[in-house]
């Protein structure tokens, strides 16, 4: 199974109620502590305050395994600028505000609370069924 199979799959509650579609799959990446043995890195660190080098500004982690922690379920498909309902980015006004409004009601459900993954006959689309007593967690990324 691929992440692409889950994306945009219909989500049903335990009582067969339609809850929306999978807008994203949340993963937990193990972050590996990197040894500071690369030459020149010390110097870069010192300069980070004034003139940081390439990609020191943006987050970049050495990663180990990637575990599925949950599904993000939204009332609508992801749309183009997905993600605003999960981050605190507020600019450029008014794009995040509009997208956030459109995706109000998006929630996170833990992977353990997914009861069944069913492949629909025919077009290869999938359907996700949630377990009884599932909880709607806030969608924000930590």
């Amino acid at each position: 199974m691929n992440v692409g199979d889950l994306l945009d799959a219909r989500v049903l509650g335990p009582d067969d109620a339609a809850l929306g579609v999978v807008v994203d799959v949340r993963l937990a990446l193990d972050v590996v502590e990197e040894p500071d043995d690369e030459p020149g890195e010390e110097e870069d660190r010192e300069e980070a305050g004034r003139d940081a080098p390439l990609s020191a500004q943006a987050r970049r982690d050495a990663v180990g395994s990637a575990r599925v922690v949950g599904l993000l379920v939204g009332p609508r498909g992801a749309g183009s600028f997905h993600g605003y309902e999960r981050t605190d980015v507020r600019s450029p006004w008014p794009i995040p505000q509009l997208v956030r409004r459109r995706h109000r009601g998006t929630f996170l459900v833990r992977w353990e609370e997914v009861a069944a993954l069913e492949e629909l006959p025919g077009d290869g689309a999938w359907r996700v069924r949630l377990a009884p007593g599932y909880t709607r967690l806030p969608p924000e990324l930590r």
């Binding site: 390439l54 500004q57 943006a58 987050r59 183009s80 600028f81 980015v89 600019s91």
Partner: protein, 409 residues
């Protein structure tokens, strides 16, 4: 001198937006028909491209990602694919026009038929793409393109009535002899050319080619603040020369050869030679810019290895794309199509490409996951949103205006 070489990327990028073969002729057409009454569009375009090119350069410097990588990642395969088709079409049409333009410029210098120059020009462009170091390329093409400053010198030597030129420019109003639809068609065409998407593709990819880092944000600012206004100034000088010499004679500009007449009148053979060399360099530079952009966009959309700093074999499909694009351009030119007319068609594709290019840049320039603390400030965002609205209006208006006016005629 070192400072000047440092801004060659901005200058070469601006040449593609303001004084490539299509713009050279369009500027003169505008000057000969509307005087300076469209000067405001050039100013509007300069501010817009400075704003978005500096954003794309900043994103490239900080995150290491060129603009089309951002577009593909933000818009998803479908919308980014639509942008790719439109942008690639603009690249290809403009590349075709530039190769033809080099041939036209060489024709001016030599009287040898343009059709004979076309394969030579294409081969020369390819050799530079294949062999020459990026920095050498941008320095030579960018600085020689600056010889177009001959148009500004010519303007001063013509000793025009500056007050009259100013009166034409502010407040802007179309001359009574022209239909307002034609006026607005040229306004949209000039604005679209100034903001043409391959500029940001080239500029941001050039920043990656030059290995900019967050340390180079000053270089980025200098490049956009010098390069684009300089391009705009050249564009205004060309229009003004036409407004001074050709407009009073009732001449409608239709070919490249006409736009150098004011220069000859003002500065004689020497200045004429300088300007012709400038035209050859500018069209050559724009050909390099659009050929590279066609490689950049396709490679970045599909994630292929790209870049002139790599050995060609280490970016094989990138180089193959550029070779194919050049061959297609030569093929189109061999049908005897007018290169200048070819650039007019790219207006149509801009309608799709412009919004789909500038929205993702603005969005990512605000994303701390890409930009860290170098996210956009409030002024940049406010201006950016205003320009997005202008871009969308211009893009939507372009096609009906083109059809209504028969491309401005």
């Amino acid at each position: 001198m070192k400072k000047l070489l440092g801004v060659a990327l901005g200058i070469l990028t601006a040449i593609g937006g303001f004084v490539d073969i299509g713009d050279l002729v369009t500027n003169a057409v505008v000057g000969s028909r509307f005087g300076m009454s469209l000067a405001w569009v050039v100013v509007l375009g300069v501010v817009g491209i400075v704003l978005f090119a500096s954003m794309s350069g900043r994103v490239a410097a900080v995150s290491g990602r060129a603009t089309f990588e951002i577009i593909r990642e933000r818009l998803g395969p479908r919308a980014a694919g639509a942008n790719l088709l439109a942008s690639f079409a603009i690249n290809l049409l403009t590349l075709t026009a530039e190769v033809g333009g080099i041939a036209l410029a060489l024709h001016l210098a030599s009287s040898v038929e343009p059709r004979l120059w076309i394969p030579v020009a294409a081969l020369a462009v390819w050799l530079v793409l294949w062999r020459v170091k990026f920095q050498v390329m941008e320095n030579v093409a960018g600085l020689l393109g600056l010889l177009l400053v001959g148009f500004a010198i010519a303007l001063f030597q013509l000793g025009p009535d500056w007050g009259e030129l100013l009166r034409q420019a502010v407040p802007p109003s179309p001359p009574g002899t022209e239909h307002p639809a034609s006026y607005w068609y040229y306004a949209v065409a000039l604005f679209g050319a100034a903001m043409t998407p391959y500029e940001v593709f080239f500029f941001s990819s050039g920043a990656v080619e030059e290995r900019w880092t967050a340390k180079d944000l000053g270089t980025n600012r200098l490049n956009v603040l010098l390069g684009f206004p300089l391009g705009g100034l050249l564009s205004l000088a060309i229009a003004a020369c036409a407004a001074v010499v050709l407009l009073p004679a009732g001449i409608e500009v239709s070919s490249l050869s006409q736009i150098v007449l004011p220069v000859a009148q003002a500065g004689g053979v020497l200045l004429l030679a300088v300007v012709i060399l400038g035209i050859v360099a500018a069209t050559f530079g724009a050909a390099l810019e659009t050929a590279l952009s066609s490689g950049y966009t396709l490679a970045q959309y599909l994630g292929w290895s790209w870049g002139k700093f790599r050995r060609p074999a280490r970016a094989a499909r990138f180089h193959l794309t550029m070779i194919v694009a050049l061959l297609v351009a030569v093929g189109i030119l061999m049908t005897s199509v007018d290169p200048v007319a070819v650039t007019e068609m790219s207006v149509v594709f801009s309608a799709v490409a412009l919004p789909l290019t500038y929205v993702p840049i603005l969005v990512v320039a605000n994303d701390p996951a890409y930009m860290g603390r170098h996210v956009n400030g409030r002024v940049a965002n406010a201006l950016g949103m205003v320009y997005l609205v202008i871009v969308v209006v211009a893009a939507v208006a372009a096609i009906p205006l083109m059809i209504a006016t028969g491309a401005g005629s």
